[in-house]
């Protein structure tokens, strides 16, 4: 059902954990849906210097968190913001259709973390897409 890439990120998740003095934290989902994703970012000079995640969810949710954190590490905040769930799913060599929404979670958690960082630094939050599209738990 899952690609080898998904299974690799699932079994050996990259960037799993927390950042004590994070510059931004984003949390999405809720336990009732069976998925919660929390992203921690450390930003220096507009660069995502470090990123960690915690996820309660299925294989796709965990693998998406892992892949998404890898993809934004070392990128500018704007580049991180522009990471789409589609890109995450593609990097994972595809997700089953009923699991696409799990990669949306990653995109949303990153947006939340970035806006948290912006808010803490007195910046206008960027406009989030809002809501869990295709998320029909």
């Amino acid at each position: 059902m899952y690609s080898d890439k998904v299974m690799d990120h699932f079994e050996n998740p990259r960037n799993q954990g927390t950042i004590e003095d994070a510059d931004g934290i984003g949390e999405v989902g809720n336990p009732q849906c069976g998925d919660i994703m929390k992203i921690y970012i450390k930003v220096r000079d507009d660069i995502i210097e470090d990123v960690k995640f915690q996820t309660f969810g299925c294989g796709a949710a965990i693998a998406s968190s892992s892949m998404a954190t890898e993809m934004i590490k070392g990128k500018t905040v704007k580049e991180a913001w522009d990471l789409s769930n589609k890109a995450v799913a593609e990097a994972l060599e595809g997700l089953p259709p009923q699991k696409l929404h799990c990669s949306v979670l990653a995109e949303e958690a990153i947006h939340k973390a970035i806006n948290d960082y912006r808010a803490k630094n007195g910046l206008e939050p960027w406009e989030e897409k809002g809501g869990h599209q295709e998320h029909h738990h």
């Binding site: 899952y2 849906c33 994703m37 969810g57 299925c58 965990i62």
Partner: protein, 388 residues
């Protein structure tokens, strides 16, 4: 690999396969035909009918072969509903039935029937008193499963049968998880109809049977030829029927020994898994199928447990929404009153003929590791349960 999902399906046992093969390419006649080779098929079907009948205390002529448990459930419920519409339009069932029952009654609701879905207690048990109270003068059918497929709880079907008989209402039981595993007797238990499925007791997939007692008025679900005494049309799946008969005969003969052995392995597994902190048993602690373990681990999600166990060669199942195509969490665990987030961490392990004590050790060890690994990853896990 270690297969602990025997409630989903079982391997077809060798004796059964051996019994089936001769009816594929050699004694392949259509039992309805007149010539000698067809008589061999017809006799084989009748032997299987007796085997099924004697396993559940029925008469051979009360057994009808189907394509599985789903067909048996659909037939019993729709067949009685349509044939007894003049008597009433009310059906009683429970919230923890298999979808083969629930989606059937939901469809019947669209056709103008009224259905009562009885609640269950925290162990998933239906109360006979609730059944009695739900009966009205419009009630034409009570359908309550013998044992639950997710949590293993065994229902008080003898009591329910007694009530149904007293009130003159037909009683169907979905015994798909029970048949071949625990003793059943349709006459002692006042059961009017009983569904079973071959692949749940090491028989072939795509085979099942419906017991229909003599007082039942029922329409066919499969209209067509005169097979099964005009009640279930379609050329008989002779090898499948032979396999079903053989499997249930062997299961009945071995039941006592096998269920003793398996239930002590089950108890060992339950005890060791409950040593993991924040884990709870689902289903009734005692009145449960010999092979069923259903346990919840807080803070983690079932599909990810399954995937990690699979990498370690362990096959299991969960009630988590994330693992189901419909993305709905288990309706059974919901009916037991568990909150969503707990349901997500449920794991079902169903033991089988091949399960050994070593398997139990291996599985416990791996579940411990996997649970810890996932708890380390989860944002919900309290600090004292993390080790990272």
């Amino acid at each position: 690999f270690i297969y602990m999902d025997n409630a989903a399906t079982t391997p077809t046992r060798k004796e059964v396969v051996d019994a089936m093969i001769p009816y594929m390419s050699d004694n392949f006649g259509n039992p309805s035909s007149l010539y000698s080779i067809a008589e061999l098929s017809a006799e084989a079907v009748e032997t299987a009918r007796s085997q099924v009948a004697s396993a559940i205390g029925a008469l051979p002529k009360e057994i009808y072969f189907t394509s599985g448990g789903t067909e048996a459930d659909n037939w019993a419920i729709k067949g009685v509903a349509f044939a007894n519409r003049d008597k009433g339009n009310h059906i009683i069932t429970s919230q923890v039935e298999h979808h083969a029952v629930l989606h059937t009654t939901e469809w019947l609701e669209k056709q103008g029937f009224e259905v009562t879905y009885l609640p269950v207690d925290k162990y998933g048990m239906v109360s006979p008193g609730d059944v009695r109270d739900a009966i009205t003068d419009k009630t034409i059918l009570i359908t309550i499963m013998t044992a639950n497929n997710e949590i293993g709880t065994i229902m008080p079907i003898a009591e329910i049968g007694k009530i149904a008989r007293e009130k003159g209402v037909l009683f169907h039981t979905d015994a798909v998880q029970a048949a071949g595993h625990i003793p059943l007797d349709v006459s002692e238990m006042n059961i009017d109809m009983l569904s079973l499925s071959g692949h749940k007791f090491r028989g072939p997939k795509g085979t099942g049977a419906l017991y229909i007692g003599k007082r039942v008025k029922i329409d066919p679900l499969m209209h067509g030829g005169a097979q099964e005494r005009h009640r279930r049309a379609g050329t008989e799946n002779v090898p499948g029927i032979v396999g079903l008969g053989k499997a249930i005969e062997l299961s009945a003969a071995e039941m006592e020994e096998e269920s003793g052995r398996i239930s002590s392995l089950r108890d060992m597994l339950i005890q060791k898994l409950l040593e993991i902190p924040k884990s709870y048993l689902n289903g009734h602690p005692k009145i449960r199928l010999p092979n069923n373990v259903n346990i919840v681990f807080e803070y983690i999600e079932g599909e990810s447990i399954l995937l990690m166990l699979n990498r370690r060669g362990i096959c299991a199942s969960t009630g988590s929404a994330c693992s189901s195509k419909s993305l709905d969490p288990s309706h059974v665990l919901m009916a037991c009153g568990l909150p969503h987030e707990i349901i997500h961490g449920s794991l079902r392990l169903t033991l089988g003929h091949d399960t050994t004590e070593d398997d139990i050790e291996y599985v416990v060890q791996n579940i411990r590791e996997v649970v810890q690994k996932l708890r380390n990853m989860s944002p919900l896990t309290p600090p004292e349960l993390r080790n990272n």
